[in-house]
Structures are given as structure tokens and as C-alpha cells.
Subunit: 314 residues, 2 copies
């Protein structure tokens, strides 16, 4: 049975896994990412892949990286959390491991995995939205991964939802990911604790008494207990998520949105408000079919599984 | 040589043309649209097509209609300016003319025509934005017309650019077409004339002395003369256009935007400000290629030509 290796390269760690044709991860290894020097990262990727190649008969290697990847799936043009700028990742790793390598944006790879083997199995038109620190996304259209003219499609986290809105890491203001991400969830909770402490008693307790001590897991924990303050933060952030999905429906009319990333583990606390706002605000809602909004199934391995499957397809 | 017929069905008229494989319109006929009764519209389409079939050997007929068309390209689900609701247009017209018919959204058909034979010849990833009374759009991705899961892709005119913004015909507030359309241009000019008449002397003159007398052609006329007030209206509307193109680039990364519709005839007065805002605001602009922004080439026949070509492809 044909095996491939998928590698997920994030800002802090490299994870590599041997994956079978059904998307099952047979063995997985992890290393920390040496972010400072580009060559070091390619070295770490190559080492971990070579270790797996020692033990498995593997036909190809796919690398999912958090950054802009060029249209030939060879070069990382820019990776905000790595030292890569115009980095020929495909070439560098191929030289070291002697196998064919493809490079893909990590969220694109995850979108492919969720469409082929995860929450959107059987669907042809899918958008994956990963709600983590920020927003990542991947787009599958007519059953194929859509990469854009120059490989940079699927960055809706940086379309503008509020003119002159919150400052974003990309340098613009009002980007969607400033309103519908884990960072936004924490910002809402801290603001609640600062301005209306009586509505945030439990949140403050979990934050060690200080608004700045409140983190994402604390908000999720309090919301799971039924805390009204924490739930109101999910309402706000979930609402912004649903609003964005309505905008994406106007533009692309997908059949299914898959919501992944750390914040999506809150499940219906996030997806409930997202669905409500989506259904009440999508344009032409009386005359069109609405997309399904589903929780991702493959978890943090999605990028690795998708990269491995894309490598198999060549 | 294989000929097909393209039909453009708008709110006020039906235009049908015999089109050759190069997109050349050999003969064109027009009729007014009887908007009140769905059957009458199908009758008018059929009559004008039958008249052309009498004189030309035609293999198929494509109908471009201003409305949501279902994913089988048969039924118009909703057409804001026609009486059609869940109207089986394909079936009704095929029964009357005895030829194969496909139905397509008019802006989708125009996007196809501009990509195959117009301003974006040779490109694979193209968005057509028609700036008329409102905003229409069509999306060509990887060289194919993208219709969405249920045929309703390509409605970016109704993504939200301003929370709680201007009321839109679709029932929502803050839709892009309320800021970057012909209606928006006229609204800007009238507001200028109302609030700052000394900056709108020429506009008021062309409007017969009243702000409400100012129409789109008047604004374009004054701007062509170099009138500062009229040019400022194009700056504002062109800026909103460019901002939206930046958002669409974040999501889809197309290679080329084609700007069509009546307002696009103002050329650089609209496209200059659009390009300036686009280039200064697209996310990751330092690390990505930017899309070209081109004026449409095929004019008001684009929909008809595209519908004819789509019918040829079957």
C-alpha cells in the first residue's frame, strides 16, 4: 500500500507523519522549529523525514507551511512566524532526502484533508476556516484545491470587516481575524473583565484576579461551566465568524464550511452563534441554498494528512 | 462554421444575437421585456430566437439572465427585476424552439466572454466586476467558470463593507454595491451638491439646478471636463471599488480583474483611484503578486457573447 509523508511546519514545531491512502497517520515525529535561520528549518525537516524513510517505504513527501507558497508549490514567499523569505524549500529538502517534495500552505493542506477524509467528505465546494490565534483558510472548488493565480488564495482572515477597525498584524486595520479568532475571544473577555468586572467574576478568578491573566482556555472553560460572561464572548466572536461566512457565501457559494483550529474545539458555543448570524444575514437567503457549517474532524493532524495526500497526487 | 445564439435578458429588454466561434456578433435583435408575466418573457425570448433560426444554421442557444440560476443551468431561482421565481426557463424555451438551451447568470456569461475573447484573453483566474446601477460579478478560476455549489457564486456586490452601513436592495446594510456602483456615484454627487453647492456648481448646472436632477452621465460629463467636484465623486467610488478588489484578492488571488458595466466607461477616472487604493491596501502586498485591473472590452454585448459561447461548449 502506497505511503507518503506529510510535514507540518509551524512557528514553533515541525511534525512529520507517515500517512496511508485513507489518511491514517501510521507514525508521527515532532521537533521544535529553529525559527531564526532558514537553513536550520530545512535541516530539521530533512532529518525527521530521513528518520521515517529509514523505516517506511515512502513515495513522496508533502510539506505544509504557515506562509505564502508560490504557484509552483516550491518556494515559500513569506512566512510570518519563520525566517523564510523567498525560500526554495522544495529544492533544499529534495537535495537532502532524495525524494520528490511538494510544498503547500498549511491551511490549504488541511482544507484538502477535511474535504477528502474529514468533515466534508463527498463535498466538492468547501471552505475550511481555521480559527486559532488568527484565521487560516483553504478553498476546495469543483473538487480541486484552489490556489489562486500566484498561490496566495485563501487568506480571508485579512479581508476587511470594519473600516478603520482594529489594527492587524498584516499592517491593515479591521481584518476579519481581529474579530473572529482566538485573539479576539481573549480580547473580548479581558475587556469585559476590565469594564464590567461584576459580569466577569468567574473569568477573573480563572485569570488569577487580573484581566490580562485571562487566556483562551480560561474563556472556554468558563463557558463550558455555563458562565454568562464567557458565553457572551463566544456569542460576539461566533457572530463575527458567521457574518464572514455570509460574505464568503455571497462571493463563492460553497456547499460546506468546515471550522477548524483551536477555538473550534468549543463546538456549538462557537458554531451556534455563527450559524444564527449566517442564516439571518446571507444575501438572497430566501432564494438560495445555505452552506452547511460543520466542525472539523481531523484535528491538529489535518495539515500533515493533507500535505501527505497532495504529495501522493503529485 | 459553428454558430450559436446568445440571449441577454435584462429588466427592460431582451437582446439576442447570432455569434461565431470568435465571439463576433453577426446579427442582433432586441425586444422589450414584458416583466409582469413569466410566460410572456419566455415567449419573447422564443420569438426572437425563432426569427434568427429562420435565417441561420444554429447548434445551441445560451440565455444570460439577471438573476440566480440553479446549478443545472435550467431554472432561474430569483430575478430581482423580472417576474421569475423558480422559473424553468430552459424547459419553457426548449419546448418553443426545439433546440438545446442553457441558462446562465448574465454576469457569469459576461465574465466568460471577457476571459475567452475580451480584456482577459489568455488568463486563467479572472474576476469580472460590472459596475452599473449595482455590482454584478462573474468568476473564472483555473480557466473554468465557477458557479458555486448551487449556482449562486459571484455576488460580491452583497458582501458587507460597512457594518450598519447604507441600506441595500437585498435587505441588508453596508453591501459593497451601495459604495462602489453607479448609484453610489450619483448619491455622492447629489450629497456634494446639497451640502457644498459651491463645490458642485457645474454638477448643479448639468442637473438643471437641483441636486436630484444630477444623474450618472452628468457626473461623468463634468468629470471629463475636469470638474473637481465630479472627479472627487469618482475618487470616492473608485476607492471603494479598489478596496473591494483588495478584499477579493485576499480571498481568491485572481490574476486579473476586468471592470465592466456602464460606470467603467469613465475609464481611468474610475480605475485610477481603484488601482491606487488596491495597491496600497491589499494584504501581504510586499510578498505577493498583484492582480491587473483592466477595463472590459466587449461592452454591453459581453453577456450575449458569453452565453453563446457557453451554449457551444454545452
Amino acid at each position: 500500500m502506497s505511503l507518503t509523508i506529510g510535514v507540518d511546519v509551524g512557528g514553533t514545531k515541525v511534525a512529520a507523519g507517515v500517512v496511508d491512502v485513507h489518511g491514517k497517520v501510521i507514525e508521527k515525529l515532532k521537533r521544535t522549529t529553529p525559527a531564526a535561520r532558514p537553513d536550520d528549518t530545512a535541516d530539521v525537516i530533512s532529518e525527521v523525514v530521513l528518520e521515517l524513510l529509514d523505516r517506511y517505504d515512502v513515495t513522496a513527501v508533502g510539506i505544509g507551511a504557515a506562509g505564502f507558497v508560490d504557484e509552483t508549490r516550491s518556494t515559500v514567499l513569506f512566512a510570518p512566524n519563520l525566517a523564510w523569505r523567498d525560500e526554495p524549500v522544495k529544492k533544499r529538502v529534495e537535495e537532502r532526502i532524495g525524494r520528490k517534495v511538494i510544498v503547500e500552505n498549511d491551511a490549504n493542506a488541511a482544507a484538502w484533508a477535511e474535504t477528502r477524509m474529514g468533515a466534508a467528505r463527498g463535498q466538492q465546494d468547501v471552505m475550511l476556516i481555521t480559527v486559532g490565534t488568527g484565521i487560516g483558510a483553504g478553498v476546495v472548488l469543483d473538487g480541486r484545491l484552489y490556489r489562486g493565480r500566484w498561490g496566495s488564495a485563501g487568506e480571508p482572515g485579512h479581508y476587511r470587516v470594519v473600516p478603520d477597525g482594529r489594527l492587524c498584524g498584516c499592517g491593515n486595520r479591521g481584518c476579519w481575524e481581529q474579530y473572529a479568532s482566538g485573539n479576539a475571544l481573549v480580547a473580548e473577555a479581558r475587556e469585559l473583565a476590565r469594564r464590567s468586572p461584576s459580569a466577569a467574576v468567574r473569568l477573573l478568578q480563572l485569570g488569577g484576579g487580573s484581566p490580562d491573566g485571562i487566556d483562551g482556555p480560561a474563556v472556554t472553560h468558563a463557558a463550558r461551566e455555563g458562565d454568562a460572561g464567557a458565553l457572551s464572548c463566544f456569542e460576539i466572536v461566533g457572530g463575527w465568524l458567521g457574518h464572514g461566512l455570509a460574505d464568503l457565501t455571497a462571493i463563492l457559494d460553497p456547499g460546506c464550511f468546515v471550522i477548524g483550529g483551536g477555538v473550534s474545539e468549543a463546538g456549538e458555543m462557537l458554531l451556534g452563534p455563527a450559524r444564527a448570524v449566517y442564516e439571518s444575514s446571507v444575501t438572497g437567503r430566501t432564494y438560495r441554498h445555505l452552506a452547511e457549517i460543520r466542525q472539523a474532524e481531523l484535528g491538529p493532524d489535518a495539515g500533515l494528512i493533507g500535505a501527505a495526500d497532495l504529495a501522493r497526487q503529485g
